[in-house]
């Protein structure tokens, strides 16, 4: 088979990780979870930096771990992109990118040609002769992406690749990864604590908590309709699919939702409008007229959620205080108006459609 198949168990003192998943060739899996949930351990096992106590890792038909086998990192064809670009400070940008081809035995000149090609692929051709110390955070991360890809890995691991970037640089790198991750037969595992990263880059999501997989499935389903309270807490977002338009998003039913376009969103392309449940205001009764971003829906459920009550109505969720629930006389079956301010709605490019898993 192509792609990645993983089933591993790791024990470290009190902590136990037990995770199994598959990523098809060309697919992107996001592993979501808070700190200490086992995300980094999963990555270390895939990269070969940590040997799991039990289990197996099979990549593109090659057994990397399991049955007494433990292929060392340099023979795995597994690339790693961490938060910190970690460019080798003593090598120029082009030699950083040429590192992987050279390690494979490609002569320096050809390795530099390969490197130049990858640098232009990530729009960093002009940086070739600089030293890493002369790059901005975003530039360095671009070069680090080129360097990881120049090794032509069968599996690319992304470890919170935007966490160390400033707010201005992150969208451009996210857009770059969106473009590049879909090329070829490479499988990608993205580790993040930010559901937005998963939303914009991954087709499937796996949620880890305390070393266990608590939820998995297609990104939009998991993020918009979390089945566990845990996932709801870290990823319970309102999502509306449609097409990006300059003022926001045109939903599939034709309604236009006013919102802020994220930097990498292009009008006319498939997109998702995202807003948090605590950005939704709830009013009793039917609407008079139709103000912007107001939706009528019937309350389907009310769930206590820590200090707030999460209301489900139609496809949406809203967080309310228990007092508000009582004041508005909310209960399942009641019709309410949900309103959301345009400035709290972010319109992101939708994850590209994935080829069907083999």
């Amino acid at each position: 088979m192509t792609g990645l198949r993983v089933d591993i168990a790791v024990r470290r003192g009190e902590f136990e990780l037990d995770a199994g998943f598959e990523v098809p060739a060309g697919g992107v899996l996001a592993v979501l979870g808070p700190n200490g949930s086992g995300k980094s351990t999963v990555l270390a096992c895939l990269a070969g930096l940590l040997r799991p106590g039990r289990g197996e890792v099979v990549l593109a038909g090659r057994r990397l771990t399991g049955d007494g086998v433990h292929v060392p990192p340099h023979r795995r064809r597994v690339g790693l992109l961490a938060q910190d670009p970690l460019l080798f400070p003593h090598l120029s940008v082009v030699d950083n990118v040429a590192f992987a081809p050279k390690a494979k035995g490609v002569p320096t000149r050809q390795a530099r040609e390969v490197a130049a090609r990858w640098l232009s692929e990530v729009d960093a051709a002009g940086l070739a002769d600089r030293k890493p110390a002369q790059l901005s955070g975003g530039q360095a991360q671009r070069v680090a992406i080129a360097r990881a890809l120049a090794g032509e890995p069968d599996l690319l691991l992304l470890d919170e690749p935007f966490a160390a970037l400033d707010v201005d640089a992150a969208p451009a790198i996210r857009a770059l990864l969106r473009r590049i991750l879909r090329d070829g037969d490479r499988a990608t595992v993205l580790v993040t604590h930010d559901p937005l990263d998963a939303l914009t880059l991954a087709d499937t999501v796996l949620v880890l908590s305390g070393g266990d997989v608590v939820e998995r499935g297609p990104t939009k389903e998991v993020l918009s309709a979390p089945r566990t309270a845990f996932t709801a807490r870290i990823a319970g977002l309102n999502l509306i699919s449609g097409t990006a338009v300059p003022e926001g998003l045109r939903a599939e039913d034709g309604t236009v939702i006013a919102g802020m376009l994220a930097a990498e969103t292009v009008a006319g392309q498939p997109a998702v409008a995202v807003f948090a449940p605590n950005a939704v205001a709830v009013y009793a009764g039917r609407a008079h007229g139709s103000p912007r971003n107001t939706i009528e829906a019937e309350v389907s459920a009310l769930e206590p959620h820590g200090p707030v009550v999460r209301l489900r109505a139609g496809a949406f969720t809203a967080d309310l205080t228990p007092a508000a629930v009582a004041d508005l006389g909310l209960e399942p079956g009641v019709v309410v108006r949900l309103a959301v301010k345009a400035t709290t709605v972010a319109v992101h490019p939708a994850p590209a459609a994935v080829g069907s898993a083999p």
Partner: protein, 258 residues
């Protein structure tokens, strides 16, 4: 910074500078060229520079791998080894020399084997000088390299391995280049320590002119016969030390800039 610190700091500086100044006032500069260029002085200077250079090479060839092993190995007992490596730093050099003598001397365990099998006798030869200097100087190099390695962590090495580089390539293309600044200062420190070596050398290698009598030993030798000559040679040692630090130090800091 509290200004009170200036007081002990000034005392410390005086402790370093005043003895050297005292030496300068004591020396008869008019006879300096003549004293320093005497054949025994020149031979001692040359022997010192040669043996110190050889010891420094030995320190690098053996000390770099040792530092990497100490910093990166996860084998149990590495902590104990780390302490053992520091032994020559805390041991009086004379004791080190005696220890070497009882290892490599004719009655020593290894010395007996060398003598019986290959007919080689190490003590009281130039080779013994190099061994004694390497013994006392190596910890300086290992300690500065190991500190740098542990401080930097192995993040770059891990990235290099995920880029397909086998361990030897990682060592050659990542570990060593990143180590260059620390290696530079380690080399300067161990060369200076080798150059000034006295106790272990005189115990293990003796004081044979032209063969084992390095500059510090010549200073000691002359101090009994001709104190002016000893002072002149002492000044020469100071000059050499200052030159080493002035020439090598800035270069060692240039190696890699993050």
């Amino acid at each position: 910074m509290p200004w009170v610190l200036w007081i002990p700091a000034a005392v410390a500086l005086a402790l370093v500078v005043l003895p050297v100044a005292g030496l300068l006032t004591r020396s008869d500069l008019s006879r300096f060229p003549e004293l320093v260029t005497s054949s025994s002085s020149l031979r001692a200077l040359r022997l010192s520079l040669e043996t110190a250079a050889l010891s420094t090479v030995a320190c690098v060839v053996l000390g770099v791998p040792l530092a990497v092993v100490l910093a990166r190995s996860r084998v149990r007992g590495t902590r104990v080894l780390r302490a053992v490596v520091l032994l020559p730093l805390v041991l009086p050099p004379v004791v080190g020399g005696l220890a070497l003598l009882y290892l490599l001397g004719r009655k020593g365990f290894l010395g007996y084997v060398l003598d019986a099998v290959m007919g080689v006798q190490v003590p009281f030869t130039t080779a013994a000088v190099v061994i004694a200097q390497t013994f006392v100087a190596m910890p300086f190099l290992v300690v500065s390299l190991e500190g740098a390695l542990r401080g930097a962590g192995d993040r770059y090495e891990r990235v290099a391995s995920t880029l397909g580089a086998p361990p030897w390539t990682v060592f050659r293309r990542v570990t060593v280049p990143l180590l260059l600044p620390a290696l530079g200062s380690g080399v300067v420190l161990s060369f200076a320590r080798a150059l000034g070596e006295f106790g272990a050398t005189i115990t293990f290698a003796g004081s044979l002119e032209g063969e084992t009598r390095t500059l510090p030993l010549e200073v000691y030798n002359q101090a009994e016969a001709d104190i002016d000559s000893a002072v002149a040679l002492a000044l020469l040692l100071i000059v050499v030390a200052v030159v080493v630090i002035a020439v090598a130090r800035p270069r060692s800091l240039e190696g890699v800039r993050a």
